[in-house]
């Protein structure tokens, strides 16, 4: 009930903990981890095509989505990020042949575990974006940003000092 009232007043309320709130103009921080060959190249194409998307994402470059350790996701959520987007090559297109297939298994288990432990499932999202899919990258970022805005601030541990 209380949550509803707060929301009605325009306050952003965390989906995980109703006690955590933020002002209406709050902007989430999203950690983006992109593979070098497809998604990072795709995001570069978004830039060269001047396709506009929300500015909330902070991008880290890794060689392959298989380099992404679930730690990175957990660490991001634990520190500054309100959400995480991981993106790699489409299945079958992996520059390193099979990396994204291994990554895909880990991502599913990680996502489900995080959800089980009390993170909204939309906090962590995954996408396949090829080097040619500049518009798709913009769309994905817009969607993820919008999803995470809906979820409100995450910073359950923000007070903690790292």
């Amino acid at each position: 009930m209380e949550t509803e009232v707060k929301k009605a007043q325009g306050t952003m309320v965390s989906a995980e903990n109703p006690d955590i709130t933020a002002p209406a103009d709050w902007q989430p921080v999203i950690m983006g981890i992109l593979c070098n060959w497809c998604s990072y190249a795709g995001s570069d194409l978004t830039g060269t095509s001047r396709i506009q998307y929300p500015p909330n994402i902070r991008i880290i470059r890794v060689p392959c989505s298989s380099r992404v350790d679930p730690w990175f996701i957990i660490k991001s959520l634990q520190t500054a990020a309100d959400g995480v987007l991981i993106s790699g090559c489409h299945p079958g297109d992996c520059h390193y042949i099979s990396g994204n297939y291994y990554a895909r298994r880990r991502f599913l288990v990680t996502k489900k575990l995080l959800n089980f432990i009390g993170y909204h499932e939309n906090r962590v999202q995954f996408s396949w974006v090829s080097a040619a899919e500049g518009p798709k990258f913009a769309k994905v970022v817009a969607k993820v940003t919008e999803d995470i805005k809906q979820l409100g601030p995450l910073h359950r541990y923000k007070k903690e000092n790292f």
Binding site: A15, Y102, L113, F116, G118
Partner: protein, 283 residues
């Protein structure tokens, strides 16, 4: 389920034939009716060996140290223990020729309250999957059951679950007993060590325990055999099985009904893939 006599006979025979240097089994605790792991080198101690439904611990864990690794060891394993041992063999942690495995067709062990333990109620494989000698009657593989606690928690609201885990994992004292008691945690450097987890999870914060344990559970995902040694070892009585069983469930449901350690040379769900793995959660 009392195989004490048979185990004593086998142990004497193995020592007599000079087939082993150590024997690892169970012994009665001196102050109550529980049992403790019991490692013997002297055949004179054989009469102390017991095996009943109180023999709860996974003895595969005692093959981890270097000194047992290099010696010939006789070992008692239940269904779940043998799956862990199977993985240790696959992951080259134990040499097959160095272990003499006495497999028990397990009828389930008891928890502290004297009831049949939850992991035994939900057990998928009570029979040993790797052994030199087998005791009891095999009852075969059973159907996979989703853990009762997970079912219950999954029905709760997200906020409730978040609250529950936050409160419960705050009690982690970072003693690493869970890691030490797990037969599959043999890494020289571990993600839950203070030293590494300072980097990864923040050293002295309330959430550090939870995030470290989550990472740890992901290292065991697709490998954990649900023996619950970790939970038995935890001084804070954290429900660690929730993490492991959650991962096990997701893996079972999505990756060709994979269960850890069931087959020889199966390395676990994260070390293989299928082209038909679920892809619908990816944008």
């Amino acid at each position: 389920m009392d195989h004490s006599k048979q185990i004593q006979e086998i142990a004497s025979r193995l020592f007599a034939e000079n087939k082993i240097d150590y024997f690892v089994g169970y012994r009665q605790n001196s102050f109550d009716d529980t049992q403790v792991p019991f490692l013997i080198t002297d055949p004179a101690e054989i009469p102390k060996l017991v095996f009943t439904e109180r023999s709860v611990f996974n003895l595969s864990n005692y093959l981890k140290p270097d000194h047992t690794k290099r010696k010939r060891v006789g070992l008692v394993v239940k269904g779940c223990d043998s799956r862990a041992l199977n993985l240790m063999l696959t992951e080259s942690q134990v040499k097959r020729e160095n272990v003499y495995i006495i497999g028990i067709c397990c009828e389930g062990v008891l928890n502290e309250k004297g009831e049949k333990a939850q992991n035994c109620v939900e057990c998928v494989m009570p029979d040993p999957v790797v052994y030199d000698e087998i005791l009891g009657t095999a009852s075969g593989k059973r159907e996979y059951i989703v853990n009762a606690d997970i079912k219950e928690l999954a029905q709760k609201a997200l906020t409730e679950r978040a609250d529950y885990f936050e409160n419960i994992f705050e009690n982690c004292i970072r003693c690493n007993a869970c890691r030490h008691s797990c037969p599959l945690c043999y890494c020289a450097k571990c993600c839950i060590d203070q030293e590494t987890s300072t980097l990864y999870h923040g050293a002295n914060t309330s959430s550090a325990g939870m995030h470290a344990l989550m990472t740890w559970s992901l290292h065991l995902a697709g490998r954990c055999v649900d023996c619950r040694n970790c939970e038995k070892a935890c001084p804070s009585h954290l429900p660690l099985h929730l993490l492991h069983k959650q991962n096990e469930m997701v893996i079972y449901e999505n990756f060709q009904q994979h269960l850890a350690g069931m087959e020889k040379d199966d390395r676990g769900a994260f070390y293989k893939y299928s082209l038909s793995d679920p892809d619908d959660f990816i944008l």
